[in-house]
Symmetry: C2
Subunit: 482 residues, 2 copies
């Protein structure tokens, strides 16, 4: 799959981030369009990134005693529509199987847009005693929600995700689990994807259809717009009552369970790409890069053999300590072409090995994130290179934190609010928590309510609503949706 | 999820294998029925077994340079029907999305029953030069094929599988790949699932719709029926011509690729369960058992603490060398109940630790497969227990080999053939390779042609067709389908 890459094919990120995003995904072979409306094909580089998500989160889930399962993608409509808010929220996006062969189905199948309904139906049979609780399961699967057109990873008709579903005896345990899952996501995004987002509570209008409360992490995109990176829902006993999930407690009495669900999808890959790429292509954080280092032997004359041996030795050393290195000996193309290729694919560190390096027993290292070049003594590379990778990882996170802070502004006046939104900012402002104000702000500014940061939930400041000037006690974050 | 297990709930395997199979899956918490026709829920124990399949095969694929990808589940009908044999073969089993919201789709979507069509459409864009070849990809995904009712794992409307899709320059490379994938499956089944099947070529009538040749591994079930455990298809250039997958060779000329696809599904778990279980429940081979050893402290009086400490010490020792052990301290239930539980769940080895064991510094080990009991000196368990697990693994494979051989019979007379099929045997017989005889045999005996063993493909014996008595040169395997 030879990418015919020409730098001029890549729109500059600073000039048009949406075009840049589509270009870079195509040129770096991350994904492609499919034949269907809103469809997407995840190519090898994209899927390898998804596997890095799976490895980290799946390990975390298992350590917490969460068990993987698999439920069918088909949910009978009669089940799906039981929770009234749930069906109302999802109805416009549903795909339906209405017949099998020539036979019309009396109870058509919904292709799962989320699995609460079918899982809860099973739990109502499976959970019998307090000894069965907590009951914690997760599935990795595909999800279907109709989209008119494809926005790679961010909005696609089918996407991949994990959905965790947990049941407890008490509301408190459920809230704890909801926040624990959110914290796993926060750690994952920070430690692996090097993205710092806003961790908070969704407003009642913006929450998951059927939940008591939804918690979210919102990413500040480089253009100041917001992307929901994951969610964790406190479902209370809403679904338990609808699906009759009851257990017998120690006293022989029937009780409803309290539930939580949490999900992170392939949308996360869109966040990763948007967060770190630049005008030269992707920039992948070392901890999740399928190739962490590319080694490029630079061949000029007939003295090739020694340079290649020298490069192979470096490759072997790095591989021996678990670094995912790639030795590029594809001499059919010019060095410039090959450098471009690895840059657009976002490989975190490039090692160049030519005659000069050979003579001096060094290797030339070029960081992808800032193009900083250093000469590394060959004797020390097993120390210096892991350190360089760690520095890249940390610097990317710092850069993400800085961008988030730089693009966020506190305002106390509605004109300021409107100006800031127009300037591509995240805005923190008092809101009276009345849905009418929230809706009016959305209509007038196109900015939606993104969340209330976790550490502000208990806050009790005193201010006035940015819109209606009535009394308000908490500052919420508003931004345009990406 | 407390299984209310009572031995009398489990049908005897020898008396009614179909009922036993359904009972054991339910009682061991492997899977459950879903609300939809042909639907199935894979519960934690079942999914853990599927993960063991994924781990082994995925590693094998990656070592061979096969890259994981993800294609949409929706395939436009216009693509799916391009290959005429393909659509003809799959038409009766297809689920269709005919509308989105109120809008009828002019080109309805097929829910993938296999992905050749959508993958090949993409390959026709992606593969350009001989330098792009070989191109080898794989995906782990769900698959939809309509079934009237659920046979756990063996026939379900939705199942999970991997499908590998590879493209090469030559027919020979493609055949090599087809057989390589088949061999991975053979090794997996033998080394991990401890199942020895027949590895062979499908007849032209029984091959995959659209393939040049299909290779298979057929399991001999304990009742002499046959289950197709996986397939690897030599697609020739059939799909390449239909989807116009061409590359430019070194001479600048356009050439069609040759292709192979190969798949193994959650049906493999049905084979695993059928192959080894007995009247007491599942028997899991140690290499794939999510719990390899259960340690049961036997508490009789007040001297509990020492016994539990002794058991914990065993647990820690075994865990330290990577053995998946479980310490069962659920004293709410009787010892007999707990033993039954672990037996039905198929845990390969049970360790009992009571006062006698403590006094003598031994542990009592009971093999699940043959109930053989041994006293192991506590000092040696890090040697003796891995050896015991290995013996169980090997003995299960030997037993599977023996069953296969015992249930297979060579016949040369059609009356013998019919009697053998009625007696629940696999039958090896000369066949003239004319489809009319194959079809007549099927109609008259209910036995279908299962395969021609690999080492008989080149054979050139001389015999006469079991049915029409015309000249025949190869002996094929026939059996009833499970």
């Amino acid at each position: 799959m030879e990418t015919k890459f020409d730098k001029k094919d890549l729109t500059k990120k600073s000039e048009n981030i949406a075009d840049w995003y589509n270009d870079v995904i195509k040129l770096a072979d991350v994904a492609d369009y499919a034949e269907t409306r809103g469809g997407m094909i995840i190519k090898p580089l994209g899927y390898a990134l998804w596997e890095s998500v799976q490895q980290v989160l799946d390990k975390q889930f298992k350590e917490d005693g969460i068990m993987n399962v698999y439920f069918p993608a088909f949910i009978p409509m009669s089940l799906f529509e039981k929770e009234k808010e749930h069906i109302k929220g999802f109805a416009p996006e549903l795909f339906m199987i209405k017949s099998i062969g020539d036979e019309d189905l009396l109870d058509p199948y919904v292709l799962r847009p989320t699995s609460e309904a079918i899982i809860d139906k099973a739990l109502s049979k499976w959970i019998k005693s307090y000894r069965d609780l907590p009951y914690k399961i997760n599935q990795w699967c595909n999800i279907f929600r109709a989209e008119k057109r494809t926005y790679y990873f961010l909005r696609t008709t089918e996407f991949l995700w994990q959905e965790g579903h947990t049941s407890f005896r008490t509301a408190q345990e459920t809230l704890d689990m909801t926040l624990k899952a959110l914290n796993w996501y926060k750690d994952f995004y920070e430690q692996y994807f090097a993205i710092s987002g806003y961790v908070g509570l969704k407003s009642q209008q913006e929450k998951f259809a059927g939940a008591k409360n939804t918690y979210t992490i919102e990413m500040v995109a480089p253009n100041g717009k917001s992307i929901q990176m994951c969610t964790s829902h406190d479902l209370g006993d809403n679904f338990a009552k609808v699906f009759n999930i009851q257990y017998i407690d120690e006293n022989g009495e029937k009780q409803y369970v309290y539930q939580n669900s949490f999900g992170l999808s392939t949308r996360s890959l869109g966040c990763l790409i948007l967060a770190h790429g630049d005008d030269f292509g992707l920039i992948l954080p070392p901890k999740v890069a399928p190739i962490q280092i590319v080694i490029l032997p630079i061949i000029t004359d007939n003295d090739n053999k020694e340079i290649i041996q020298f490069s192979e030795n470096i490759y072997k050393q790095l591989s021996s300590i678990g670094i995912k290195a790639k030795l590029d000996v594809d001499f059919k193309h010019t060095l410039g072409y090959r450098i471009n290729e690895w840059e657009i694919k976002g490989v975190p560190l490039r090692l160049e090995v030519g005659q000069r390096e050979l003579d001096n027993n060094v290797v030339s290292a070029v960081r992808r994130d800032n193009f900083e070049k250093s000469n590394l003594d060959i004797k020390d590379i097993l120390n210096t290179i892991p350190e360089l990778l760690l520095n890249i990882q940390n610097d990317l996170l710092q850069k993400s934190r800085k961008l988030k802070n730089d693009l966020t502004i506190d305002v106390s006046d509605y004109n300021e609010f409107k100006k800031a939104i127009n300037d591509g900012k995240f805005v923190r402002a008092f809101w009276c928590e009345d849905e009418q104000c929230e809706e009016a702000i959305k209509q007038e500014t196109k900015a939606s309510n993104r969340c209330l940061e976790l550490d502000r939930i208990e806050s009790n400041e005193s201010g006035e609503c940015i819109y209606c000037h009535k009394k308000a006690k908490r500052r919420w974050l508003f931004a345009k949706s990406y």
